[in-house]
Subunit: 534 residues, 2 copies
């Protein structure tokens, strides 16, 4: 992973001439590029851990599992939110861990937490490091120092139950690595967040991650048969079963705990047979409302495809500018003929018979709702580029352009109002800062009672006050989402959403979670400053 | 509801001559009937609440909302587990509430809890009172007295969102009443536990109830968009949304809390369009394993029907003895021809097209797995008698016969072993007491990674030591279930499963739940003795 942005490899730039022209016209780009600084000019505070501290950690974990080199500390200094990238590219991360540790097994992990309690050292669990909500920022708070606890060495597949279709893994295994291992056995987890190439399974569980195929495969929280959390006060292990009616569901407490209760060390997850066939197709609707009404119909018939991505008018226009070749011509033809329109990508996976029957039914419902089929071109293009957006973000930052996303979910009856009000609030916030921009939205996770709404905002950076500009947009959008009755996040709470979180669970709910935390982590070493206060 | 058994009406006895003959032969029945005592001979301890206590409660809730008459106290003295019925029929409930209260709104409910904290009065939330695990037994423990808090007056439908397909209700509404209201609007909740005629929605949520159609409609926990818990320390209200990634899922903490954290006062639940058509059919398999393997195939194809009920050889034989008319002849013909077999009932609900297509697919998969179709007769018979088993239990008790159920869930790879080991352990326990009996089992909730297993045990009562006999069977079955890796319950923890609960969530998990409880109910007035210690 690049320390200043996304991806671990030379990535070919994705901005097409059409997209650049649109950016120039609608947003404005900087006349001179804003590249990241070089590693040599990065400024990190010195580690607060002395040689005796490090020697103790090495004795506990092994010498190779305790790292203090600048590149290691830098890579673990933040997640991949927009403000994180701004700071990283400028060579000035907001903070840095005093060391990075890689425990290799449950016993060493538990011993490490004991040690950190005793020595008052904060611990930030770090999987893929892709948080966009400040979820891995190394805050020591009241403690002497802070470690980034990288779970990369806890990466074993512990067992595959072919009959039950479950896989038992350690929490640090990467989603991509697990998916490759499962593919060799004819299975898939079906969990493909945009950050798929980097994320760990434990990180996905800790953040209640929903992948691009969550409509069909469920979010990671729905895949958990059993889970083990190593916490400072002990190890919570739930029995791995398909269902239980025994008390509150502790699995759903550990899912979403964001590292504040402990480390997700192991999980038993439901897998599915690898699909024989993927059918991805595009359709165009005259407007956003016709599109989401058609999705509602499919959801309430219990006939949803596995992947759904419906872009509003604004996002469809940007997609067209980014598209190339035949899909672009088809889509362009449709949009030009009508003046506007909305694109939806529909993905259906499974065996031949099921895909034929399900995709056929979807087509009938969408056509009845007025959709025009665009064929498999847009579907293939989407599949090809499904993990590309974070790379594009790096290009935009180099051009002096801000890009941020805000995600929510709400019930069907509220989708239109929420979409309108949040877009208006963000436009207003941008106008107020004299940086008008593009606000676009898509639906990508569909439920029977409603759907997600992911907003993307693109605007020229307000140079010299980029963070303030971002904060103002974030505040406007979250205030509007809360006021409109949407959930404050589809991407975890972290630092960035804390202020709005109590609105969602009520003050008494927040106190209950805090009590739970005090029990599992009495001295508050686990990921201070995230999710809950303190 | 009868105070000594099940049902609120004159119920026609359901034991056929064939069933009686089988009981006589295989279990033995008492030579003279064991009817319940009359109300006049019931012995209840006097209420520990004095006139000043009751006056305060009346001032708080209204005079008609505070009841101390014997029939009220008696009806709220226990749930409907086998030992509860034994004691009730003998006129000697294990305990009784000192008063029964019926708060009429959230404000009065919250004020009542405040009052009970202040006066050290324990509170047992009481919905339908159908707990089979000791979940509503009125235990004062360290407190001065105990109230049964009947939620019957909190029974409003607060709103139906036709687009989102959600209904907002107060927790005390009865499932049957809600279902009738929804039917008028063209919707269904699809939640049909065997206790459907009596249970409250809040009680279902508090016990993570799974209805007979949970395979298609999900368990109640999966229907919750939002929920409100009134607890002594405050009211926890979650935002009603189809999905959230904001922290641990508090909804799944409240679901299953069994009255120990507070009262489920309100919920927003997903509903579905009322099905146009119900297609219920029977099939026969040569053995249990062929049957559950076919269900596994359907589950892992994501092509499950809405209702599935697969009986093992033993239960199928009993079903035959209970059946009458054409279904009995068909089933009898099949079983006699083969010597043994297993019956599965398959229910498919929805619009015409979907039912045709789904039921057709199910038929193909089941036939490929070797099933013989028995037509719609057994399906109709099952639908007709779906809520009848608890009435039969009353008849059996009158005949001096013990009947108890134990339920678990496990992964597919473990079904055969668990089924074998639990049945053997229960048979052994019965033999050891010289009351050999019938142990039968069915699968009625199917998940992708596994299924439920509901065991029913029938044996002649060991007269004079009925409770000890029951305890010994219960212990043998729960020890065997735990040892075999099944969840300790598919029907809540209550009092009866507490001893085995920590096995399921680990001691650290139990401490975490206890901490949560201490936060929400600092003085421990809520349903003492259930779920958690204290």
């Amino acid at each position: 992973m690049r320390w200043w942005g996304w991806g671990d490899r030379e990535h070919v730039d994705g901005l097409t001439p059409g997209a650049l022209a649109m950016l120039r016209e609608r947003v404005g780009i900087s006349t001179d590029p804003h590249p990241p600084v070089t590693l040599a000019s990065v400024d990190l505070a010195p580690s607060r851990l002395g040689e005796s501290d490090l020697a103790r950690l090495r004795a506990l974990l092994g010498a190779g599992s305790v790292r203090t080199e600048l590149p290691e500390r830098l890579l673990h200094s933040a997640g991949k939110g927009y403000p994180d990238l701004l700071r990283a590219r400028a060579g000035r991360p907001a903070a840095a861990p005093d060391a990075v540790v890689y425990p290799r097994d449950r016993e060493r992990l538990a011993a490490l937490l004991d040690h950190c309690v005793e020595r008052s050292i904060a611990v930030v669990p770090f999987g893929g490091g892709t948080s966009v909500v400040g979820g891995v920022s190394p805050q020591a708070r009241a403690h002497r120092a802070v470690l980034s606890l990288d779970t990369a060495a806890l990466d074993a597949v512990l067992g595959l139950d072919r009959a039950a279709q479950t896989v038992r893994v350690q929490g640090g295994i990467r989603a991509a690595s697990l998916e490759r291992r499962l593919a060799e056995e004819g299975f898939t987890l079906g969990h493909f967040p945009q950050s798929f190439e980097f994320v760990s399974i434990g990180g996905c569980i800790a953040t209640r991650s929903a992948g691009q195929a969550s409509t069909g495969y469920g979010s990671i929280a729905e895949m958990i048969d059993g889970v083990t959390l190593v916490a400072p006060a002990g190890t919570v292990a739930t029995l791995a079963v398909p269902h239980t009616a025994a008390g509150p569901d502790l699995r759903q407490l550990i899912a979403g705990s964001e590292g504040t209760l402990g480390v997700v060390e192991e999980a038993t997850l439901r897998v599915r047979r690898a699909p024989e066939r993927l059918a991805y197709e595009g359709y165009a609707f005259a407007d956003f409302a016709s599109g989401f009404e058609a999705l509602r119909e499919l959801a309430q018939q219990r006939a949803l495809p596995d992947v759904v991505r419906l872009s509003d008018e604004s996002e469809s226009e940007v997609q067209l500018a980014l598209a190339e070749g035949r899909p672009a011509r088809l889509l362009g033809g449709y949009l030009r003929a009508r003046g506007r329109g909305c694109v939806v990508i529909i993905g259906t996976e499974g065996d031949d018979r099921a895909v034929r029957s399900r995709a056929g039914h979807t087509k009938r419902v969408l056509r009845q709702a007025g959709a025009a089929p665009l064929g498999s071109g847009p579907g293939k293009a989407w599949l090809h580029g499904r993990f590309a957006a974070p790379y594009l973000r790096d290009e935009l930052l180099t051009l002096g352009v801000m890009v941020e996303t805000m995600e929510t979910a709400t019930v069907w009856s509220n989708v239109e109002a929420l979409h309108r009000e949040v877009a208006a609030a963000v436009h207003d916030a941008l106008e107020a800062q004299h940086t008008p921009g593009i606000v676009m939205c898509h639906v990508s996770h569909v439920y029977e009672t409603g759907c997600s709404l992911y907003f993307t905002v693109i605007a020229r950076q307000d140079e010299g006050r980029e963070i303030e500009q971002w904060r103002s947009v974030k505040r406007a959008s979250l205030d509007a989402i809360s006021a409109a009755g949407g959930t404050v996040t589809h991407h975890a709470v972290g630092e960035d959403h804390r202020e709005w979180y109590s609105h969602e669970v009520s003050p008494a709910g927040l106190r209950a979670l805090a009590a739970l935390r005090t029990q599992l982590d009495p001295t508050g070493i686990m990921n201070p400053g995230k999710l809950l206060a303190g």
